[in-house]
């Protein structure tokens, strides 16, 4: 790349927001450069979505195999931590090189280096070969987020790790204490408890997975407890200390001071937008606390500077990141486009999975909707029974008057597959009746969706609604 070349769009960050912006911009016919300082694919591919899900998939097979006897199988299968980690890393590597390949084949320029914005049209990039300047008409800030460090003593002790640290452990923890019952904490709890680690989750709030439907998260908690996870709720952590050969996590619960012990402590208390060294102050980019402030077209206060992904901190999810990124690119190209968040699916990849879209029952009440709620348990679904996975349920919230679906919540087998139908339903303005009148194949898991939609009217076919 020559110093003097000018790009239409320069993208800072090669995570889901950044690399998809690069691909999309090229496909829209303009010249894009993507600048990444650490790892192509960002958090998601390297230390987020992908490595965790590769591990979860192994655990899923393990759990199924362990139910083998019930299914008519004999024999035993045991986890091999080294092999699980090696395999996980292989999947990550394959996808990371895939992302680079996609950028290349779409004709996007890739620069490996750290970017600082100098002017709205100039970016300085420090690479291994030296510093270069990138000239551009538009800038997309897609610098993502990093794990938050809570203001608690002992966060720097050896053995106290964030999600990235946990994913780089070479040995399986024997006792893992997880501070934080959000989805990252819960996914790791489900992974490690099934691998044989003793897992304790300590959560400050009265419940895990705040924001998700409470009926479902309570059930999920029970299922995780059955697997062996120990939960402490309403339990703020005071400090982590080095004990004799163990880390001691001091927390209070019901007014009592307590201690949890582990050889590893995972701090999973959220993530914060990352803008260090970007030069946003100089540029005068308006912030919203630590996030870059954008309007619903992903534009900052500086007209040709946009931002997308975790750095804007709307919904820190990979699929939101790349949707925002595409919205940003469209607006840069003069195609007025608004980012909408009303039907964003989110999944918790525990075993079993949980998935959600739209409003919870609680949120719908709070926003003043008159609603109907339809539930259908997987224990009444023939396929789930056949699979030996009849835990959980589908729950659909519809607006009483119009029947339109306001939200849907699924706990159970393949929840992350099933939520897609209901997301499309919401986007299309479908009513629960539309979903009910759509023929669903038998015997399949999506029948549970059809029945839950029907159940918003107070009856179901394969279940007695009480």
């Amino acid at each position: 790349m020559s110093e003097n070349q000018e790009f239409d769009i320069a993208i800072i960050g090669g995570g889901p927001a950044g690399y998809v912006a690069g691909i999309y911009a090229q496909q829209m016919g303009v010249r894009a450069v993507v600048i990444e300082k650490q790892y192509w694919g960002g958090t998601c591919l390297n230390v987020g979505c992908i490595p965790t899900k590769a591990m979860v998939s192994t655990v899923e097979v393990l759990k199924l195999a362990r139910q083998g006897a019930e299914m008519g199988l004999k024999g035993d299968i045991e986890p091999d931590f080294d092999a699980i980690v090696a395999r996980r890393d292989k999947v990550v590597k394959q996808l990371v090189s895939g992302v680079q390949g996609l950028l290349r084949s779409n004709g996007a320029t890739q620069i490996f280096g750290e970017a600082t914005i100098k002017t709205p049209n100039e970016i300085e990039v420090r690479t291994q070969e030296g510093t270069q300047t990138v000239r551009t008409r538009n800038i997309l800030i897609a610098t993502g987020s990093v794990p938050a460090k809570p203001p608690v003593e002992g966060m720097d002790l050896p053995g106290v790790v964030d999600s990235t640290g946990l994913l780089s452990l070479k040995e399986q923890p024997q006792e893992l204490v997880i501070i934080g019952g959000g989805y990252i904490g819960i996914e790791f709890a489900s992974i490690f408890v099934n691998l044989g680690t003793k897992v304790t989750v300590i959560e400050m709030l009265p419940r895990i997975l705040a924001g998700y439907d409470e009926e479902l998260t309570k059930r999920l908690q029970q299922l995780l407890q059955r697997d062996g996870v120990e939960f402490h709720l309403n339990a703020p952590v005071q400090a982590v200390e080095q004990g004799e050969g163990k880390l001691l996590v001091r927390y209070s619960e019901n007014g009592q001071e307590k201690v949890a012990e582990g050889d590893v402590v995972l701090v999973a208390t959220g993530r914060i937008p990352y803008t260090e060294g970007l030069g946003l102050d100089n540029l005068g980019v308006e912030m919203n606390k630590r996030a870059v402030k954008v309007d619903d077209r992903m534009q900052t206060n500086i007209p040709n500077v946009y931002a997308a992904g975790d750095v804007v901190a709307k919904m820190p999810l990979a699929h939101v990141a790349w949707t925002e990124a595409q919205v940003a690119v469209r607006n840069m190209l003069g195609k007025r486009t608004k980012m909408e968040y009303f039907a964003v699916p989110s999944c918790v990849f525990s075993v079993p999975e949980m998935a959600s879209v739209g409003l919870t029952e609680q949120a719908a009440y709070e926003q003043g909707y008159e609603i109907k709620v339809g539930r259908f348990p997987f224990s009444a679904n023939g396929r789930a029974l056949g699979m030996g996975e009849s835990q959980g349920l589908v729950k659909i919230i519809s607006e009483a008057d119009s029947g339109e679906i306001l939200g849907a919540h699924i706990l159970g087998p393949h929840a992350s597959d099933l939520i897609a139908e209901l997301t499309l339903a919401m986007e299309m303005g479908a009513t629960a009746e539309d979903v009910d009148l759509t023929i669903h194949a038998h015997p399949t898991l999506p029948e549970a969706i059809q029945e839950a939609a029907l159940a918003t009217t107070g009856r179901a076919i394969h279940y007695i609604v009480k």
Partner: protein, 58 residues
């Protein structure tokens, strides 16, 4: 979050995107789709009509 309570939006994402791009009020467009739904083609022909009106205005 984005829709009025009790008022079905019934506009598909592709229709909403096009309306946004061209700053159109969808309630002004007559739907020819399933159950009177406004389809993308309805919006496209509405845009064409607007543009031909514009062209014919001096």
């Amino acid at each position: 979050l984005t829709r009025d309570k009790g008022k079905p939006h019934r506009y598909s994402p592709a229709v909403r995107r096009l309306a946004e791009e061209y700053k159109l009020d969808l309630s002004k467009i007559k739907g020819s789709g399933l159950g009177g739904r406004v389809t993308k083609k309805d919006v496209e022909s509405y845009i064409n009509t607007l543009e031909s009106i514009k062209r014919n205005e001096p």
